[in-house]
């Protein structure tokens, strides 16, 4: 498996920590998912110190932490958030979100490239949440990114891979760059498909947290990414237009 900024991860599954009904459910979901990476954010700390409790729990998950800049709409905001995250979470890893549109939460690729450059130059390991545009991908690599995280569909939509063709093109264009499908996964078959296309990881949150049974869905996603990764290695058959008997025809008895 490709390395992410020099780190090899134990599973291609990256899981979000939001929207769970309880910390206990989150914890069990993570254990079952086998996720190698947990995404987190920064929010205002109240007197209650809720953030500290959350942090204690996440740290105990024993997975890599990937802070995000969720909800940032400007380069300045995203960069400052990244700087603060680096200090709090004590990691150079940052999932760079630069939201360009309120309803679709889609990336603003212009500000994204700008912020990615600033952060990469400042020593961050940038995980850019981007579109499936390969020219944008090229700019992000030039800016210093060593990972690309194209969306499959809008965040939280669960619609699956809206443009497989574009993802295949990204894969073909950047054979050596880790690709992680980030956002849009709704069911395991979406995750399996992403891996079959040759992606190196899948990042999801809502599909697990909002499933009727998050813990079971977490297990399902663990199997799904494994299945897809193995299939990619195994070199699948080519689909055919016509049927072809699997059972041999020769030696068939005459009984009619």
């Amino acid at each position: 498996m490709k390395s992410f900024y020099g780190e090899t991860i134990s599973s291609p599954l990256m899981l979000g920590t939001a929207q769970y009904s309880s910390p206990a459910v989150l914890e069990r979901a993570f254990r079952e998912s086998g996720a190698s990476v947990a995404t987190v954010s920064l929010r205002r700390e109240g007197s209650g110190g809720a953030g500290q409790t959350f942090w204690a729990m996440v740290r105990d998950l024993g997975v890599r932490i990937l802070p995000n800049t969720a909800g940032c709409h400007s380069v300045k905001e995203a960069v400052t958030t990244a700087q603060m995250a680096r200090e709090v979470f004590d990691t150079p890893w940052i999932k760079l979100e630069l939201i360009g549109h309120a309803d679709s939460l889609q990336p603003d690729v212009f500000q994204l490239v700008e912020a990615a450059k600033i952060l990469a130059d400042d020593g961050f390991d940038v995980f850019p949440y981007t579109t499936d545009d390969l020219v944008v991908g090229e700019r992000l690599l030039e800016a210093g990114c060593e990972v690309l995280m194209p969306w499959g569909a809008p965040i939280g939509s669960g619609r699956g891979l809206q443009n497989e063709y574009a993802l295949r093109a990204l894969r073909a264009e950047f054979p050596d760059t880790p690709l992680v499908v980030d956002a849009g996964i709704g069911v395991p078959s979406h995750a399996t498909r992403a891996m079959e296309l040759g992606c190196d990881g899948v990042l999801l949150n809502t599909a697990v947290a909002k499933a009727g049974d998050p813990v079971t869905m977490a297990r399902a996603m663990a199997k799904a990414v494994e299945a897809g990764a193995l299939a990619h290695l195994a070199d699948p058959m080519e689909p055919r237009d016509m049927a072809e008997a699997s059972t041999p025809v020769i030696g068939k008895a005459f009984l009619s």
Binding site: G16, A18, S41, L42, E45, A50, F54
Partner: protein
């Protein structure tokens, strides 16, 4: 003096950012910004507050 902390106007005694954290009982793992500029932990004691300053104290939270 009057400052804005995490979006809320408050009256504080502390003169420095580190003092403010103490005053607020924020001993945990937090990051700070003053007037939309990040202030690293090791610079907090040097960071003098002025009336009207906008302070952000952020902590780990759920994220996707």
């Amino acid at each position: 003096m009057k400052i804005t902390l995490n979006g809320e106007p408050i009256e504080v005694v502390a003169m420095t950012l580190s003092g403010l954290l103490e005053e607020q009982g924020q001993s945990g793992r937090v990051a700070t910004a003053v007037n939309e500029v990040f202030v690293p932990a090791n610079a907090r004691s040097e960071c003098r507050l002025a009336p009207g300053d906008r302070i952000e104290i952020l902590a780990p939270m759920q994220g996707g």
